[in-house]
């Protein structure tokens, strides 16, 4: 029994022109059995920063609670929101704290930094950051996602085209993975608005 594949997940974040998109699947499973088809994997930290957590759902929930706590404390002390780069460092530090008894999660962080420049990164379960300029993926469907994103990605996509690309990449990848799927959740974030959309894909 692989612990990272216990619940099943798929996450992808992509950079566009002054915007980013972050998308996840909606399945919550316990190995072969599907428990729910409306599970939220992506959470908002603040209006310009989103966190997706793939891997073991219980650790994703615990980690999310700890990170929200830390961010709220930061907001109280600094009287401002955290920059995405700072938040990525915080997540990395919190994960490495548990180096010899880790959280079984792979986070995907996406945000708009200074001057509305999109920032995305992912890291492994012990906090090794992987910054990318184009896209990052995580979850049981990550190998399919790498392939789909690599072929579909273009530089400087506008929000509408970015949404289409991310959605197609997500849906085609989860269709090849039995542990993820049951639709998709896509957030497209620009400096002025956040658009949340639910995708209907193969429900199996």
């Amino acid at each position: 029994m692989q612990i990272f594949e216990y619940n099943g997940s798929a996450l992808v974040a992509m950079v566009g022109k002054n915007c980013f998109a972050i998308a996840s699947d909606r399945r919550l499973g316990v190995q072969l059995q599907t428990i729910a088809t409306d599970f939220q994997r992506i959470s908002k930290i603040h209006d310009r920063l989103f966190l997706g957590l793939s891997g073991l759902a219980t650790d994703a929930q615990t980690l999310y609670q700890r990170l929200v706590f830390r961010h709220k404390l930061y907001q109280l002390r600094e009287e401002r929101d955290m920059k995405p780069e700072t938040f990525a460092n915080l997540v990395s530090a919190i994960l490495y704290e548990k180096r010899f008894g880790p959280y079984f999660c792979q986070p995907v962080i996406a945000g708009l930094g200074d001057e509305d420049k999109p920032f995305i990164c992912t890291m492994d379960s012990i906090g090794a950051k992987e910054l990318a300029k184009d896209f990052v993926v995580a979850g049981t469907a990550s190998e399919s996602l790498y392939g789909a994103c690599e072929s579909m990605f273009k530089e400087d996509m506008e929000p509408e085209e970015l949404f289409e690309t991310v959605s197609q990449a997500l849906l085609s990848s989860v269709d090849r993975d039995c542990l993820s799927g049951w639709g998709g959740h896509v957030y497209v974030v620009t400096p002025t608005e956040v658009k949340e959309r639910i995708l209907k894909g193969r429900m199996d």
């Binding site: 059995q33 428990i35 729910a36 599970f39 759902a57 219980t58 929930q61 615990t62």
Partner: protein, 204 residues
């Protein structure tokens, strides 16, 4: 094997649990109540290791009562569910409880709700949920016949269908089940479904 399942109806939630206390091949008793009344408007149906099940649910029950004594108002179902998940999550990497929980409750403001909390502290709000080998049958029956806003009669009919399916298709099917319901009038026992009655204890 232990069968626990539940669903949310129009303005009530119903949970069902088998009532066998089993030790390897021996059935100690067939009228073990595995659904605890947490407080006036909450039910906690638990399955798993017997010692942990009783110990953990009593612990939760007493802490929920303590909150009410200290603060003068009862916890909401969501708060109780999150508290339960927190306790399971804290114990997970030290001294884990092997207890799967379905927490059903009724709140005046938000109506009925059902929370799925598995033994590794994965929390999810669901309309229908199930644990154990019986879940393979009861979840499928509920997927087929469930619709939102069911009346009590329809829901109990579905519950009976699930019990029939478990009895006929599960090789180690438990003979007896208890059904408990929670609605605006509170949490209470609804019915038993017995096919084997324990022999009456001879009077002294």
């Amino acid at each position: 094997m232990e069968c626990v399942f539940g669903l949310v109806g129009n303005d009530f939630a119903v949970v069902v649990a088998d009532t066998s206390a089993v030790h390897s091949i021996l059935v100690h008793k067939s009228n073990e109540d595995k659904i605890m009344i947490l407080d006036s408007h909450k039910l906690i149906a638990a399955s798993g290791e017997p010692g942990d099940r009783v110990q953990f649910t009593e612990y939760i029950q007493k802490n929920v009562a303590l909150y009410q004594f200290r603060n003068g108002i009862p916890l909401t179902t969501a708060a109780a569910a999150n508290f339960t998940r927190g306790e399971l999550a804290t114990a997970l990497r030290k001294n884990p409880y092997s207890v799967n929980i379905l927490l059903a409750g009724y709140d005046k403001e938000t109506g009925p709700s059902l929370y799925y909390i598995d033994y590794i502290a994965t929390l999810h709000k669901v309309d229908k949920g199930a644990f154990g080998y019986g879940s393979y049958f009861s979840l499928s029956m509920m997927d087929r016949h469930y619709h939102s806003g069911m009346t009590v009669e329809e829901a109990i009919d579905l519950v009976d269908k699930c019990i029939m399916e478990i009895r006929s298709r599960l090789v180690v099917a438990p003979p007896n089940f208890v059904i408990k319901i929670v609605d605006k009038d509170g949490a209470r026992e609804y019915a038993w479904r017995e096919s084997v009655k324990d022999a009456a204890v001879a009077s002294a």
